[in-house]
């Protein structure tokens, strides 16, 4: 079941478009914002709300990389693995985080505190290497800097 708040937010997005199904991606993002990820039940709820088939919504949900179809941790680390970040050494940052948290790309820590995922070029190449945690952006990463940053996410 979509919450009243979710319905209200989706309804507002529908207002931007000539028909409801155009708000499909916005709806998926809204549900994910409230629940952390998009479950099969949520896919069905969105389909019903936008008058689409479950399969259509599923097709859209699985296409976009920033829609999570599996639960993620409380904080999601998105480490840029783009070419400029590769040249500037994102791999050593990855190895450091991976060792520190005991997770590889696609995994979540046992305490559910962090999920780490690779992300394509974040458009901050002159300050590489860069990453995002949730909605926050960080750049010119060093091992020391990463340690301090991670401490701020509980």
């Amino acid at each position: 079941m979509l919450s009243e708040e979710e319905k209200k937010e989706i309804q507002k997005e529908i207002g931007q478009y000539p028909y409801p199904s155009a708000a499909c991606i916005d709806a998926l993002k809204i549900v994910q914002h409230h629940r952390g990820w998009v479950s099969n039940d949520s896919v069905k709820d969105i389909a019903q709300f936008l008058n689409m088939s479950n399969e259509e919504v599923e097709g859209v949900a699985t296409f976009y990389s920033r829609i999570y179809r599996k639960p993620v941790g409380r904080n999601v680390i998105l480490l840029c693995d783009g070419i400029s970040c590769m040249i500037m050494g994102y791999e050593s940052i990855y190895e450091h985080i991976s060792k520190k948290l005991g997770i590889r790309f696609g995994q979540t820590t046992a305490d559910n505190r962090f999920t780490i995922l690779p992300i394509s070029c974040l458009g901050d190449c002159d300050h590489a290497p860069s990453m995002m945690i949730n909605n926050d952006h960080f750049n010119q990463l060093t091992v020391e800097k990463v340690d301090t940053i991670l401490d701020n996410y509980k």
Binding site: P18, D26, K29, V60, G82, S84, S120, C125, A128, H137
Partner: protein, 423 residues
């Protein structure tokens, strides 16, 4: 030297508010276009200025607008492509975060020129600061009567919406972007019909890049001749050029079109970091062909870079240094393209993962000489004309030129059965 696009941008400060921007002369172009010019006059002016699209393809903006039918009885749309995701590209972020009002002003005029009453900014989800600044600026513009009904009392209406994306590089392809904006999978459409005839929701639509739209108000204010005078080549205007990689001062600069690669690399980016040698560069993002030492005096412009076998693309260069393995460099890029393929066309869906597997094998010391022939063959399968969009042809560009310029490095991987850059 004039720097129209970045004159009011200071990354250390908040962008100008509407009032501040107006005091600095902003929105004067909107006044002029809406009050003193017909839509056709605006389009003709942009056409005369020869503004070429700054998203990478360099299509003439005025021509794109003039393809939109002039009948008034159908909805028309203007879409700003702010889905910057080309690896190594960070120019639109700078414009969006630094001066959102410049973009809004350009969009009002562009929408007026094509008589669109609804516009969307298709924004990359990761650009959170840009989204915050844009939404704030749009609210200010609505409150001041620069957006909404009866703009400046001229009778022209425009609703401007921001759509924050959900990822995927392919959304930057203009017809894939339109499908995404319609709430669908971002799969490029077969063309024709082109978006100018049948675009968003099946209606006439113009899609322009952020940097392109940021020019419009300036061109209206100062004229086509002024715009042309800004560049060192036939094409008008300045361009945001960027450099990333092992250079002393990676960054972004607004410079005349036609500035040489050498000047950008050596003067603005400060040259290579001590201890690193230059091997080559991708002039305009990951989907452009390599250039090498002999091309450093090439002028950065659409035509001049194309003449030496590459593309200016987004104008943001990625530098390959001598301590980075060219095979690993290409592996990173091709893996990106393989992951980001929408999967619709066979050469792209099947070819790219194959290329990635081979590059991985070579990098790990398991390469064979015949692999090089397969890679070359793949670049031909992925060439323009075999796919709906430019994704696969773009992916083929660094690969085909990399195989050519760094042939000896490929061979040493294969013969030595290991990557020479790995100890």
């Amino acid at each position: 030297m004039e720097r129209p696009l970045t004159q009011h941008i200071d990354p250390k400060k908040a962008p100008l508010t509407l009032k501040e921007y107006q005091q600095a002369g902003g929105y004067a172009g909107v006044q002029k276009a809406l009050k003193e010019m017909t839509p056709a006059e605006v389009t003709n002016l942009v056409k005369t200025s020869n503004l070429l699209g700054r998203g990478g393809a360099g299509f003439p903006t005025g021509v794109k607008w003039s393809l939109v039918p002039t009948e008034h009885d159908t909805p028309k749309y203007l879409v700003c492509n702010a889905d910057e995701m080309e690896p190594g590209t960070f120019k639109d972020r700078y414009l969006l975060e630094g001066n959102p009002h410049q973009l809004i002003a350009g969009m009002i005029i562009a929408a007026y020129a094509i008589q669109a009453q609804t516009a969307y900014i298709f924004l990359r989800w990761a650009y959170k600061k840009a989204e915050f600044e844009l939404r704030k600026a749009i609210d200010e513009a609505y409150a001041a009567g620069l957006l909404g009904k009866n703009i400046l009392g001229t009778g022209f209406n425009l609703e401007l919406n921001v759509h924050s994306s959900a990822g995927r590089y392919i959304c930057g392809e203009e017809t894939a972007l339109l499908n995404s904006l319609e709430g669908k999978r971002a799969i490029p459409r077969s063309k024709p019909p082109f978006p100018a005839i049948s675009g968003l929701f099946g209606k006439p639509t113009v899609v322009n890049n952020v940097e392109t739209l940021c020019w419009i108000s300036h061109i209206v204010e100062n004229g086509a001749d002024w715009f042309k005078s800004l560049s060192l080549t036939e094409t008008g205007g300045t361009k945001l050029f960027g450099v990333s990689g092992k250079v002393k001062k990676p960054g972004l600069w607004e410079l005349p079109l036609g500035t040489t690669i050498r000047e950008i690399l050596e003067e603005h980016a400060g040259g290579m970091l001590d201890g690193y040698g230059f091997r080559g560069l991708l002039p305009g993002g990951a989907s452009t062909d390599f250039l090498i030492e002999e091309h450093l005096d090439v002028k950065m412009d659409f035509g001049t870079v194309a003449a030496v076998g590459s593309r200016m693309g987004t104008g943001t260069m990625i530098i390959l240094d001598d301590k980075t393995c060219p095979v690993a460099f290409l592996h990173n890029i091709e893996k990106f393209f393989a992951l980001e393929s929408c999967g619709f066309c066979t050469p792209c869906r099947e070819g790219l993962p194959w290329v990635v597997k081979i590059l991985e094998a070579i990098e790990n010391g398991n390469g064979r000489m015949e692999h090089l022939d397969i890679l070359k063959q793949q670049t031909r399968y992925m060439a323009p004309g075999n796919t709906f969009c430019a994704h696969a042809p773009g992916a083929a560009e660094p690969l085909q030129s990399g195989l050519n310029y760094f042939h000896d490095d490929f061979v040493s991987h294969i013969n030595g059965k290991k990557c020479p850059w790995k100890s």
